[in-house]
């Protein structure tokens, strides 16, 4: 759909009044798994919102989050997990996991979780913020206004942090990169080490800003 002339005129006026400072090319934070990093061209982009969409239930979001948490712990990087339905099971990461730079924010619903994300991104101290909305109801997620996501995008740009939003369907209108998980796992996967599951993960990456599109199939 083409924008109306009035909108184009307004955009020009705004661009003249508030010129954007050209930003340096953002670097990336490694996900901790080469396969994800290769697909994301170096990892999760700093200063951008990345949305991880589980295309079906049990699509394997843990493969990405587990690798990311372990990589961040090893790198001594602060990670905040905003748990929008208080669903995180830390025991799965293992007793030896280093939680010294891990912040768990247990929220009752998606609206509060978004407020918590806003506070943490404004803070600017935490370099990786994960907003987990996977178990929240569709009604809750649809209540989040699109401008909220653009506000978070602006905050991420200012803090040069990574904001990873895990969702059950496309929710984040401002996401620069969308990682769509297509994995269909069986009960055997629950007893298999993640190192063995990773090569079998099916996903695709859509970079909305750069129109990048990758399809990676299993095997």
């Amino acid at each position: 759909m083409r924008a109306s002339p009035k909108i184009i005129e307004l955009q020009k006026l705004l661009a003249e009044k508030y010129p954007q400072v050209p930003k340096a090319a953002a670097s990336a934070v490694s996900t901790g798994a080469e396969r994800w990093d290769a697909a994301l061209r170096g990892g999760l982009r700093k200063g951008a919102v990345t949305e991880v969409i589980a295309a079906q239930p049990s699509a394997g979001t843990a493969l990405l989050l587990g690798a990311l948490f372990a990589e961040s712990a090893a790198a001594g990087r602060w990670v905040a997990l905003i748990d929008a339905r208080d669903a995180f099971d830390a025991e799965w990461l293992g007793e030896e996991h280093d939680f010294s730079r891990f912040l768990w924010v247990r929220c009752p619903d998606a609206a509060v979780a978004v407020k918590a994300a806003d506070l943490l991104l404004r803070d600017g101290n935490i370099s990786v913020v994960v907003l987990d909305l996977r178990l929240n109801s569709r009604a809750q997620l649809r209540k989040i206004q699109p401008q909220v996501w653009y506000r978070l995008q602006r905050l991420v740009e200012e803090s040069a942090a990574v904001l990873l939003v895990a969702t059950p369907f496309r929710v984040v209108s401002s996401a620069k990169v969308q990682l769509i998980l297509h994995g269909r796992w069986t009960l055997d996967a629950l007893e298999t080490p993640q190192s063995a599951l990773l090569p079998a993960a099916e996903f695709s990456v859509e970079g909305l800003a750069t129109a990048e599109h990758y399809e990676l199939k299993a095997g």
Partner: protein, 487 residues
Amino acid sequence: MFAVIFIPDFALQTLLRHEPELRARPLALIEDGPLVSKVRVLQVSAAAQTAGVLPGMTPPQAQARCAEVIFRKRSPAQERIASEILQQTAQSVSPEIEATGEGIVTADLRAVRQPDWPALAAGLVARLAEFHLRAQVGVAESPDLALLVAQLAAPWRVIERDLTPLHALPAKVLPFSAQALAILQRWGVRTVGEFLSLPKDQLATRLGTEAVRCWELAANRRTRLLRLVRAEEVFEEAMEFEHGIETLEPLLFVLRRFLDQLALRLDAAHRVAHALHFRLGFADGGGHARTFAIPSPTRDAATLFRLLHTSLENFTAAAPIIALGLRVEAGRAVADQFELFDHALRDPNRFFETLGKLTALLGEGRVGRPVRAPGFRPDALAVQPISPQEKSAAPMLATAPRIGLALCRYRPPLAATVEVRSRQPVHVRTAEFTGAVTDVRGFWHSSGEWWREDPWDRLEWDVQLDSGALCRLFRERGEWFVEGVYD
């Protein structure tokens, strides 16, 4: 040389430090006594003096002269704090100081090299003005003469070897009794110079030791040793309110004033705040005290204020607040040396302020790092608050291999209706989803804590539904639940 810092109407000025808006109004300071009839006006503001209110009057007499006069009681706490400020300020120019009297401090400046006395005196006046104290500073060759000069200064005065500027002053500036002053008046002695021209031994014969003391003082023949004190490094502000405070805004307003003052004092002492001890007194006699550790010690008033503000946002009290105190635990600034690959917090103070805001948003026990509670009870996770004092440990270079997918837990578990065939679940229905079971593993039996009132004893199954979802079911006390979804 000696410098004397003199705060006129000391008790009144200490009271006005945190209420500068009262300066222009007629204010009378009264000393509270056990008998109402004994209450007298001690000191008065300039506006009250203009209206005819004088020290020594009873409150009704003062009110008869000026109906708008405001009465305030002395505040020993604020006088003590102002004395500390005075001594700390004096100690910034000399380590040898004497607490000469109420609102009077003498500093021994004989060790000062290449002195610029006017600059020093003006600096002391300016420094105390930052603490809302109107000081007069006198610099002279002896402590007593310096005190005399300070009492005459406006706002500072330096009298070096040449005492002739003193000679033109009226004789009453010397500490004569009224009787001695009257005798001098009858003799026609009007000025200090005329008094000094009288022979000392004849004065002793006629007027006694009092006249000799004044003569030696004016002639700079009198000296004494200072009773040295060391200013304590106590950084505290306190205030008692005439009317109880019931909302946060006025409390924050006063706190900000306190912090501005404390930051100045810390700056002068080259110290930073490591902790803030905050206390409140309530109208019902109760109190509240709390200590705020400063993650990254600082003397920045705005940062300290944000920390207090965030923590007080959700504070409630049963009774109005009538007293407020804030004490800084001061120390030297800490220089941190980070590891080469250490990702330290950029601004620890801001981080802990954000944690405070998150706690205010979510409640206690909702923000921190996950810790496993002792025992084997399923989902026995708790949140450990992140403490400002803790030192970050070196990052672990390797972590244990992770198995399978993570369980996203429903807290509390979802009540489910499960259809069972041959002791295995075949269909699951919950308030959130429903589906036929296509694959199942289990059951596993686990139990524990039988000695407690709430033991656990359950059977668990891992199931795959026709939607592809992998779930964990469990049955306890005849009820079915979905514990979570693997993802």
